[in-house]
Amino acid sequence: MGNSSVFFGIAEIGYFVAMMVYIAYFVFKGEYLGKGATTVTIVSFLAQTAAFISRWVESYNLGIGRPPLTNLYESLVFFVWCLMLGYLIVEFKYKRRSLGAFVTPLAALALGFVDLTGMSKKIEPLVPALQSNWLLAHVTMSFIAYAAFGLSFAAALMYLIVKTERRNEPAYVFWSVSSSVFFIVIFAMLLDYMNYKVVGESTEGFIKNYLFKTTFRNASSGVAVFSYIVAGIVVFLTWRYGYIIKKAINGFNVSVDFLDELNYKVIAVGFPIFTLGGLICGAVWADQAWGTYWSWDPKETWSLITWLVYAFYLHARYLKGWRGKKVAVVSVVGFITVIFTYLGVNIFLSGLHSYGDMP
């Protein structure tokens, strides 16, 4: 292992710290906390950039020589890099930090998933089907778009929290349940991680044998039932006391129009990139490699579904009564589709894409 893993280690720890500080800033406000959070994020981002470059150099030294964007590990890490770059741009452009408390957990989740599943970090040469510049363009642009969608997800979630008033409103139920499930998943994975340390198994094997085994899928049914009860209580508490989060956000004087606008703007950036990179470059690659630009295999179909969800979002904004809350829900659903397209398809559905196969 070369420099890249050292830099990457710094970045990884840095992002986790940044997440904590952003959340602390979110709760306690305090300008020094905000400045601290930004500083930690910038340092981690620079470390990750250094890791990216030195990994690229290392691959040349190994005689493989390609940008580090070709397997699941590298692409997830690249996603985090784009997400943080996009976030920093938004933070500096609009001078607003509160979004950080919603974006950094996404980065932490992605990196946590990398470590938890112990996926191979080795620089491997590419099998023939993957030796294509179209594929490289496809992956790069897809992940830039995914990062934009990740930002829109954070903005939409914040929007929903600020905008909903009553606990029996569907939009309120939606955000409180989806965000608490999100945090429960992170937390359960963290417990697995502490329990099993790094597991050098295939990701599918990991999912089968370890994921949530500390909690929901514990061998002892007592622990499992207890975990479900605790999770239920967390969801309930988030739902019951969601107004505390709402108050915390209100303390920042973030205007809802800003969040709605930001949500639309990042999707406006992400959608064309996803169309060109995610769908078109992917289709050209498939055409070059196999002689069909579209074969309805699950991975392709899920990319199309993601694209349709965002097309739905763009058009729903034109319908009366679909402004604001409803389209924000669509944006959150859109990002859930993104996650499923990237991870769910490999884990739950079989496809002919050897690319996504987890090492």
Binding site: I280, W290, Y293, P298, H315, L349
Partner: protein
């Protein structure tokens, strides 16, 4: 409507047409159709498409339980869910979406054309203050001076302003990027183009597969339905090779050397690999798979190098004997293994029938006495040395493999790509360019100039607002001390 008296037949007809037109010109229908296509596509990824029934029956058992699964499966199958994306109702949904797009575009285009082609006109004085962006401030200086500065500022913003003279001043007005309003239609039109390209490909194209043994020639591809399809020319596989990374069995390249023949004449000699297909007369050939042909069917290509460095290339079969030049040795090829490895007890065994690590077992004799014997590998030069100083190298094994080639003819693919390119351009224009208008009114008054700005952008107004502030910044710095700046932003 139904409850109205149907007295006038023609009116009734037009009203049906109107109802249908109204339905298909609505964005609401578009949103419903997009959602339905997305949801059904999800179903299509859960049920494995075109798979053996058993696979999906297992899934159905999980969902519906053992008792209901067979019936549920039969119903779903008859509805076409097992080959969903070519079922009539899925194609019908796509057709509806296309109709929706066309009618919706036709419905709106005239209005958009009117907006785009309408020339800019100066704004009446009371029109200021009622646009998306409104600004007002006062500058010190003569009207002639300020006019120059205003024109400069407008040019800087990318406008070519027209001038309209007033009694005590002047109005400048301009618009740009009005054609950006068409961008959304470019996107929609090209979705249709892509669908048309796909239909052309399905109607007039061909998809098939060819399996050619090394050294063989064929002019037939097998279609996906299993029918024979004659290309009108023949392809010969001259050689097929797999290259590996270093010592590993990780493939680096799959390489087929092909010759195109027409009436026995060689027309083209080329090689294909994955991601590097070849085209001939509308057909494209893709390296897709390969495999072994079974034992003893091929030729071994060997290079013999004598002690004094002279070498020759010869072809032999298993069981043949060859003489090593410049030595009394005689070599007999005893066996061939496509993929040889040694186990823990140093015993040789073949680990796969793919030709990952070809080797021959050779026994060297001098007269009647056996001197040495051993495995000679294609991939390991160390194994080529013979103890007496000469060399026997396995260069190639030929006729042991077939290459699998995907064949495609798709006259629609260029239509699809053209549609993709234009749709992407449309997307960039739709999101990043907007139709911008600006009016600037200057009224001179005793060494001061009263400036009013009205502006609009059909998208991304905030950014336009900021750039106006930037361009007019130097002017605003001259604001008279006694007159505070006013900046109103209205609806």
């Amino acid at each position: 409507m139904m409850n109205q008296g149907m007295t006038d037949k023609t009116r009734d007809k037009t009203s049906i047409v109107n109802t249908i037109w109204g339905l298909f010109s609505s964005v609401r229908l578009a949103v419903i159709l997009i959602a339905m296509i997305a949801l059904l596509s999800i179903v299509g990824t859960l049920i494995e498409q075109g798979a053996e029934p058993e696979k999906n029956v297992i899934l159905f058992k999980k969902i519906f339980g053992d008792a209901l699964a067979p019936a549920a499966y039969r119903i779903s199958e008859s509805l076409g869910f097992m080959d969903m994306y070519s079922s009539w109702w899925f194609l019908a949904l796509l057709a509806l979406l296309a109709t929706n797009l066309i009618i919706c575009s036709l419905d709106r285009l005239p209005g958009i054309r009117r907006i785009v082609s309408k020339p800019m006109e100066p704004l009446k004085e009371d029109g200021f203050g009622h646009h998306g962006i409104n600004k007002q401030f006062v500058c010190n200086g003569s009207l002639t001076d300020i006019r120059v500065k205003v024109v400069t500022a407008l040019r800087q913003l990318g406008f070519h302003p027209s001038e309209f003279a007033l009694e005590r001043g002047v109005q400048y007005y301009a618009q740009k990027w009005q054609h950006a309003r068409y961008a959304v239609y470019v996107i929609h039109l090209n979705i249709i183009v892509i669908l048309v390209g796909a239909v052309v490909g399905i109607q007039f194209g061909f998809h098939g597969f060819m399996k050619i043994d090394e050294g063989q020639t064929t002019d037939t591809a097998i279609s996906r339905k299993g029918e024979e399809h004659h290309l009108g020319f023949s392809i010969r596989c001259d050689d097929f090779n797999v290259q590996f990374y270093g010592d590993t069995d990780m493939p680096k390249t799959y390489l087929s050397f092909l010759t195109v023949l027409e009436n026995g004449k060689e027309m083209l000699k080329t090689s294909i690999e994955v991601n590097r297909p070849m085209s001939y007369k509308g057909y494209t050939f893709y390296q897709a798979s390969y495999g072994p042909l079974g034992e003893g069917s091929g030729v071994l290509v060997l290079r013999v190098t004598s002690k004094d460095g002279k070498s020759e290339v010869i072809s032999k079969n298993v069981g043949d004997v060859l003489n090593i030049q410049g030595s009394a040795l005689e070599a007999k090829i005893m066996a061939f293994s496509p993929a040889l490895a040694f186990n823990k007890e140093e015993k040789a065994y073949t680990y796969t029938d793919m030709l990952n690590n070809p080797a021959i077992y050779v026994v060297f004799r001098e007269g009647r006495t056996e001197k040495y014997g051993g495995w000679i590998f294609k991939r390991y030069p160390k194994s080529w040395n013979i103890p007496d100083g000469s060399k026997l190298e396995l260069i190639d094994n030929w006729g042991y493999q077939y290459t699998g080639i995907q064949v495609r003819k798709d006259p629609g693919v260029w239509i699809v790509y053209l549609g993709c390119i234009c749709m992407t351009l449309g997307l960039y224009f739709a999101f990043f360019l907007s139709h911008k208008k600006i009016w600037v009114l200057l009224v001179g008054d005793k060494g001061k100039v009263d400036i009013k700005i009205a502006a609009s952008a059909h998208k991304n107004r905030g950014a336009f607002d900021t750039s106006i502030d930037k361009a007019f910044g130097p002017l605003r710095d001259q604001i008279g001390r006694d007159q505070p700046a006013a900046n109103t932003k209205g609806g």
